[in-house]
C-alpha cells in the first residue's frame, strides 16, 4: 500500500535570541506516522497550546520546513518541492482550513474571488459557465450556494458560513488531503456539528483524507479514525480514536480526558457538581 502522507522522524527546532544568547525551542520531536492512500481517513492530532500540533500542521502544508526528518507526500519528499511549479502541483492536492474563519479571507475583498481563483488556477481552464457550475457545486456540497455567496464580503456571513466557504474553496482544487487546524474552535457551538459532519461526508463521499488538528476531545471522538496525542512536541499516545479516548493509557492523555467538562449535569441535587 502506498502512503499518501508519510512522516518520518520529523523534528522542528526554533532558535530564538541573538548572537550571544539563544534559546532552542523543540516544537516537534521525532514524529512519525503514515496515512495510507487507498483508505481515506480522518487523522486527528490532539494537543494543547505549545504541543507543537500547529507547527506539525504547517510542516505538512509545506509552510515550514522540518529541521530533520522527512515528510513525504505521495512519495515525494517535501524538501524537494521548492519551485513555484512544484508548489502548485503540491497545493493542488493538499489544501488547508484555518482556525479563524473571519481571517481566512481578506475583509476588504469579495469572497467569490477566492473560489473562482482556486478553480481557475488548479484545474483545466473552462469558460465562465463551467467555472460557475463548478463553484456552485462545491458550495452546495457544503450546504451553501453560489447565489448566497456571490458578491458578499466576509463580514456579512457568520463564522460557520465562512468556514464552510473556506471548505468549499479547499474542495475546488480536488485535493486528496485537507489539513484542518482547529477548524471549529471559533465557530459557535450550535453550528459546529454541521461542519464536523461535513468532514465526515468529505471522507465518505469524496474519499478525501483529513488531518484534523484540535484540542477538543469531544469532536475528535465524534469523527476521528486514528488519533495521536502530542505533549510538548512529542507523541505520547497514538492509536485507534475511540480506543484511545475511551481508555487512555499515558498519564497525560488521562489528565486530558479527565479535564474534559461534560455538557451534562448529574441528575442528582445540584450540589453534587459543586465539589471542585
Amino acid at each position: 500500500m502506498s502512503a499518501l502522507l508519510d512522516a518520518q522522524h520529523v523534528c522542528k527546532t526554533f532558535t530564538r535570541g541573538g548572537v550571544f544568547s539563544s534559546r532552542r525551542i523543540h516544537a516537534v520531536c521525532d514524529v512519525s506516522f503514515r496515512i495510507e492512500a487507498e483508505k481515506p481517513e480522518i487523522f486527528t492530532i490532539i494537543g494543547e497550546s505549545g504541543s507543537g500540533k500547529t507547527t506539525l500542521a504547517r510542516i505538512i502544508l509545506n509552510i515550514e520546513q522540518p529541521t530533520s526528518g522527512a515528510l513525504l507526500f505521495d512519495g515525494i519528499d517535501l524538501a524537494m518541492v521548492r519551485s513555484s511549479a512544484d508548489r502548485m502541483v503540491f497545493m493542488h492536492k493538499v489544501q488547508p482550513i484555518f482556525q479563524n474563519p473571519f481571517e481566512a479571507f481578506n475583509p476588504l475583498k469579495q469572497l467569490d474571488r477566492y473560489l473562482f481563483m482556486t478553480r481557475r488556477r488548479f484545474l483545466a481552464a473552462g469558460d465562465h459557465a463551467d467555472i460557475d457550475i463548478a463553484v456552485d457545486d462545491a458550495l452546495r456540497r457544503v450546504g451553501l450556494s453560489l447565489k448566497e455567496v456571490r458578491y458578499r464580503y466576509p463580514h456579512e456571513l457568520s463564522g460557520g458560513q465562512l468556514q464552510r466557504v473556506a471548505i468549499a474553496r479547499a474542495l475546488l482544487s480536488n485535493p486528496r488531503l485537507i489539513v484542518a487546524d482547529e477548524p471549529v474552535s471559533m465557530v459557535d457551538a450550535s453550528l459546529r456539528m454541521s461542519i464536523v459532519n461535513l468532514f465526515k461526508a468529505l471522507r465518505d463521499d469524496l474519499g478525501i483524507s483529513i488531518v484534523y488538528v484540535t484540542h477538543d476531545l469531544a469532536t475528535a471522538y465524534y469523527i476521528s479514525d486514528r488519533i495521536i496525542v502530542m505533549q510538548k512536541g512529542i507523541v505520547v499516545e497514538s492509536g485507534e480514536a475511540r480506543a484511545v479516548l475511551n481508555a487512555p493509557q499515558h498519564p497525560y492523555s488521562r489528565q486530558l480526558r479527565a479535564a474534559v467538562l461534560l455538557p451534562e449535569v448529574a441528575a442528582a441535587a445540584p450540589s453534587a457538581t459543586l465539589s471542585p
Binding site: 513555484s84 502548485m88 497545493m91 488547508p96 484555518f98 481578506n106 475583498k109 488548479f122 456579512e156
Partner: protein, 288 residues
Amino acid sequence: MLAILRDLLRYNLEFRIGIVLVGFVLVLSMLSGFSPYPPQDVYVVPPDVPPSLSYWLGTTSRGQDVFWQLTFAIRNTLLFGCTVALISRALALVIGLLSGYKGGWIDRVLMSINDTFIVIPLLPVLVLFYFVMRDSMSWLMLALIMACLGWAYDARLIRSVAMSLKTREFTQSSVFSGMSTREILVQEHLPYVMPIVFSTTMNNMIWSIGLEVTLAVLGFTDINTPTIGGMIYWANQHTAMVAGVWWWIAFPTIAVVITFIGLFLLAVSMNEYIDPRSRLSRIGPVTS
C-alpha cells in the same frame, strides 16, 4: 470613484475645504497658459508697482507681473512636487512590499540599502549635486534625485505593514488559491497599504516643495525657470523686503502655504475614508 468623491464632499468638512484650496491653486496654475508674457522675460512691465487694478498683485523689481509669474511658479512647483512624490511612492511601494513579504536575504539586502539612504543628509548632498552638475541640473534631474532620496523612510513603514499582513491567514488562503507573489501584493496587500501611501504622498509633496524652495532661495537650482523658490530668491537678490516691495515675497509665500494646507486637509480626509477600519463599517446592510 465618483461615489467616493461625492460622499467625501457631502460629509467631510476637511475635504471640502481642502478641495477648495487645492482647486484654487490648480486653477491658478492653469491660468499660466493664458499669460500674456513669456515667463523668462524681464522688464516687460514697469517695475516695483504695488498691487493695483492694472497689476493685481503688483510687479517685481525685475519688471515682471507678479500675478502671471505666480501662475508659472505655482505650476512648476506643483509639477515638481507631483513628480517627486509619484516616483518616490512607486519606489517605496515596490521595495517595501517586496521586502516585507519575501523576508530572508531579499529583506536584509533591501533594508541595508534603505537604511543607507535614510542616513544620507539631504541638503549637503543636493548642494553637492548642484555644484557637480551646474548647468545640466534641470528640474527633471532634480526631481529624479530627490525621488531617489525620498523613498527610504516610507519604504520601512510599508514594509512593516506588509510583514504584519504576511502573518494573517488570508495571505495563506491566497497562496493556496494559486495566486502568485505579485498578485498577492497588488490585490490583497495594497489596499491595506494605501492609507500610508496616501498620507505619505502629501507629506512627500510638502517635503519636496519645501526643499525645492529652500534650494532655490539659496540659488542652488535653475533659477531662470520660475518657481516659488525662484521668485523668493530673486526677491532676496533685489532686497525686496528692505526696499518695501513686500508683494513680491508675500504672494508666493501665501500661495505655497495655501497649497500645503490644502494638500494636508485632502490627505487627512481621504485617509479617514480609505482606512480599512472605516471602510469595513461602511460596507454591508444599512439601517437608518
